[in-house]
């Protein structure tokens, strides 16, 4: 059985998904305000990192990296409902790209696995 990352199509799949995903996030009134004023180029690179992790691809993130990266946002009120919204947008993105439901669930589970680190708890 090949890995989730290989089944999804590897880096090409991340590249195909990243702008679609970022557009959905920016259009989502529940979470868009967390991205006000950010530099879009560096943000898309971060989104790519996140998707690579969620797709089961190569990454060296530690829990501490996740905590540090989101601390400022937690201080601004980032909570479970926002993580839910991000995962929801991720699911829609994958379905738009024709990814089967089994893989959509696996990706959602991986994304969900960093929830506590992201929320600094």
């Amino acid at each position: 059985m090949s890995s989730l990352y290989e089944r999804l199509g590897g880096e090409a799949a991340v590249n195909a998904a990243v702008e679609l995903f970022y557009r959905k996030v920016l259009a989502d009134g529940r979470i868009a305000h967390f991205f006000d004023g950010v530099d879009m180029e560096s943000q898309i690179a971060k989104q790519k990192s996140f998707l690579t992790m969620a797709f089961g691809g190569p990454n060296n993130y530690t829990g501490a990296d996740m905590r540090n990266a989101h601390k400022r946002l937690v201080d601004k009120g980032l909570n479970d409902s926002h993580v839910d919204a991000v995962i929801e947008n991720l699911n829609y993105t994958l379905r738009d790209l024709g990814v089967p439901e089994t893989e959509v669930k696996e990706v959602a589970n991986l994304a969900n696995s960093v929830r506590d680190d992201v929320l600094n708890r």
Binding site: L26, A27, A45, S49, N60
Partner: protein, 318 residues
């Protein structure tokens, strides 16, 4: 062993080792995060030597052309001289050739800087002294002009403005460093539609890009929007109008603030109203920070790829 020179210091990269690992081992405080070539936190620029193509994965065509690469996935086999992304490298002497008014408050500064390589539309740091440095975009073309050309708005209390207006004369020496920025034609496909939007002296890089596109035989449609506070601010408009009359694929759309103009003459609103289909376009945005941010986001949301949007946002001098 492969030699990497980082800010004048030699660092050996062991076989199989990445440039990031070698820098960290040598005690260089190099920024990094994912160590997998995704987050781009560690990005550096090679000013001598070619980084392996794999180390430029995920970067834009413009970044690749400028030598940017990701040290965390870079295993070099030939020597490299690398700089932090914000390091401008060597300074060059620049002799003032002419300072001429383009309109009431914008002047055209031309300086001669032998050996200074750049792409039209990039920006440089111009210094008239250790504590008097500003960034300006280049409207000149290195293969057509024996000088660097900048368009500079004169601010009443600006130090550089006063220096330019009151002290500087032809023959005086300044210094330039850089170039920086990804506003240049290289990497655009010759059949791609181009959307150029500049406000105020943001026309300078746009004009440089336009000249380079035409010189390189660009065939796709080019629409150029220039915004100004009043019609007097629309400098170079005769040249651009003439160009758009003789070239089938060039369309010049000046927008000046005027209550009777459509959208009140707001260049961003005018361009967004007219440009509904942008997903294939090569887009260049130059002007104030708010304008550039607004246009970048709007155009991205309606389908433009960030890879195809190049921008320079002007920030006021402190």
């Amino acid at each position: 062993m492969t030699l990497v020179t980082h800010e004048g210091r030699a660092v050996d990269v062991a076989p199989g080792e990445t440039v990031l690992e070698a820098l960290l081992r040598a005690g260089v405080n190099a920024p990094h995060s994912c160590r997998a070539g995704n987050c781009q936190s560690c990005m550096h620029r090679a000013i001598d030597g070619a980084p392996p193509p794999q180390s430029q994965s995920g970067l834009t065509d413009a970044q690749k052309a400028m030598g940017y690469f990701l040290p965390c996935i870079c295993r070099p086999t030939t020597p490299l001289t690398i700089l932090r992304p914000d390091d401008l490298g060597a300074r060059f002497e620049a002799v003032v050739r002419a300072i001429d008014p383009l309109n009431e408050d914008i002047v055209r500064l031309r300086v001669e800087a032998d050996g200074f390589a750049y792409r039209p539309g990039q920006f440089i740091e111009l210094s008239a002294g250790e504590d008097l440095k500003r960034h300006y975009s280049l409207a000149s073309h290195p293969e057509e002009d024996p000088f660097l050309e900048m368009h500079i708005r004169l601010h009443q209390d600006g130090r550089m403005s006063r220096h330019l207006a009151e002290k500087l004369r032809a023959g005086d020496t300044l210094h330039v460093a850089g170039p920086s920025g990804s506003c240049f034609y290289e990497g655009v496909h010759e059949d791609q539609p181009m959307l150029l939007i500049g406000a105020g002296t943001g026309l300078a890089p746009i004009y440089g890009v336009l000249r380079d596109a035409l010189r390189k035989g660009h065939r796709g449609q080019i629409r150029l929007y220039h915004g100004a506070r009043s019609s007097k601010g629309l400098y170079l408009s005769e040249e651009l109008q003439a160009l758009s009359n003789v070239r089938d694929n060039v369309d010049y759309r000046p927008c000046a603030f005027d209550p009777s103009a459509p959208h009140g003459g707001d260049v961003a609103a005018t361009a967004l109203e007219a440009e509904q289909s942008v997903s294939d376009a090569a887009i260049f945005l130059c002007g104030g920070e708010n304008l550039v941010k607004r246009l970048k986001r709007e155009l991205f949301m309606r389908g433009a790829s960030l890879k195809n949007i190049r921008s320079d946002a002007f920030t006021p001098a402190r």
